[in-house]
Amino acid sequence: MTSLLQARRLSRAAYGAMWSLPLPVWLAGFFLGPMVLLIWLSFWDVKNFLLTPDFQLENWQKILTAGYFWSAYARTAAIAASAAALATLVALPCALAISFFLSPRARMVLLGLFVVPFFTSYLVRIYSWQIYLTENGIVMKLMAAIGIETGSLLNTPLALMIGLVTLTLPLVIVIQSISLLSLDRTLIDAAYNLGCGPRRVLFATVLPAARPGIVLGALFAFIFSFGDFVTATYLGGGKFTTLSILIADTVKSGQQWPRAAVVALMMIATLLLTALASIAYAYRRT
């Protein structure tokens, strides 16, 4: 009898292990492994355009003392933070409407539509924005038709924001909507019963309760914008050097993969810290 119970327990443990296994395997193979390789690579040397295993600190010293690295770092952080804030602000009314004012059917259709942009290549979407924003492009002609003369909007901060919001907005709306839809509606009823007006219900009840979703949406927008290369290159014209552009330049010039690894590791460290801080804030007890 005891051995039968033991066998059952063992079988249950094996069954549990089978389902648990993919996660550590995936993490080890696709995150920890490449991360260790990246850290190791950052100490290598490049001799005659060939990567040479080594252990030298020169790559770290070179990048961390380069003024252009820190200006690109500050610019990238500022652009990503602006894009995250903009996407969050634009997404919030949409998510509120989807969650509270639409019928379940209309809600499903609209949320489905927000997934549709992911069916198209992001690069193609950015190229099509070029047609709108370029010199004598559609936007410039429309503005001229109503008597407003504008120059080309390409390679401007506005173009950068348009590109990054194109990338992040659908995801932010979906995350915010899921968060708002899972909100306990009795809290809202209670707030109304206690005499709160719509504005107070929104700011004192709905938004605080939906904080995890709003913060996580902004975090994802920040992460995507921080590492984006396409918008900075094709809508920013390479004029606003971001860390992704710096990585591409570093590899292009002299095949400096180890220095590019240093830049990449700095980006990863920044994103990890940002993610940890955001999650701590999102789930902080008030």
């Binding site: 380069a66 010199e135 094709y234 390479g238 004029k239 710096l246 292009k252 095949q255």
Partner: protein, 370 residues
Amino acid sequence: MAKNNLTRRGLLKTSAMAAGALAIPMIARAQSVTEMTMLAWYGQAEPDAVAEFEELHNVKITPKYYVGGEQMLALLAQSPAGTYDLIHADAEYVQQLVRANFVEKLDPADYPFDDFYPEFHKFPGHWHDDELYAVISRFGFLGISHNLDAVSVKEAMSYDMLWDAKHHDKVGHFDWHLPNLGVLSLRNGNAQPYDISGGAWDKLQETTLSLKPQVRGFYDYGGVLSSLKSGEVTVMPGIGEWITGVLRRDGANVTTTIPEQGGIQFTESFSIGRGSRKAELARKFIQHASSPAGQYNLANLNVFPAIIPSQAGWERMIAEKPEDARHLGMFKGDGNAIDLIRKGRIHIRQLPVQQDLGDWNDFWSAYKSA
């Protein structure tokens, strides 16, 4: 009711015979067609460049494209000898190919140098210790490329126009430091734009940084084409007919002017890869590319047009494509491409002599980030 006589064994046998019969032409073709590999700048091994040779010699050229000489060197460094039969490279990188032992020596007698203009009989970058390692295929000049609706040829005769207030936010850069810093070095009066002292290098950095407020953007090949065509930028230093020639085919009103301070020459060439097992075929390819017919073809490649060193090729261009020949500088008389070289207005693009290439790279990153 008809009896079905098709047994499983019969079906398998018939299928095998049919598959074999279908495969025979492919097998026969695969046996007769020789494959040759070419490491080349993008677009240089497309059908318009190689189809004629492929047909003549029953060969299939498989390209591996690169963007930038340093990427080419890295690809070679990471591949075993013999990986690439043909190497298409810019002159400034041929010396590095030789030093790294990536290319075979060539016999000058194999190639029609007599037909080439004398300037290319012993082109400096292609020879090392009096031995030939690369044969020039075509070349071009880099100066100021501009939209003629916004900038006249007269105006573009000086690099100083780049700082003109009316071109604020209308200056574009091809995103590569060598041609840009080369022409700005000429603007600073350096007779040897890439062989400059520490003081001249400091001055060049200062000059370049002062241009940044005028700059609209930094572009790759596609971006250069679209920004000049759309009018997003009206003027670009350090590029040439390799861009404006392509745009003109598409109806754009653009050209390239070599300012009085001078221009930079880029030079393409072919070499045979070290350890190639198709060296004889590669030699035939270079001979074909150097022949008048091959040269005429190379002048008109779809990827971009360029000047050719063959005098017979010039004659044919002038006779058959006079307008393209004129824009490229292949015409008789004063001011043609060879005349500009002879007058000393053209300087060969090369790697920095007194500074490390890394210093120029780092400065370019700093400039973009400024």
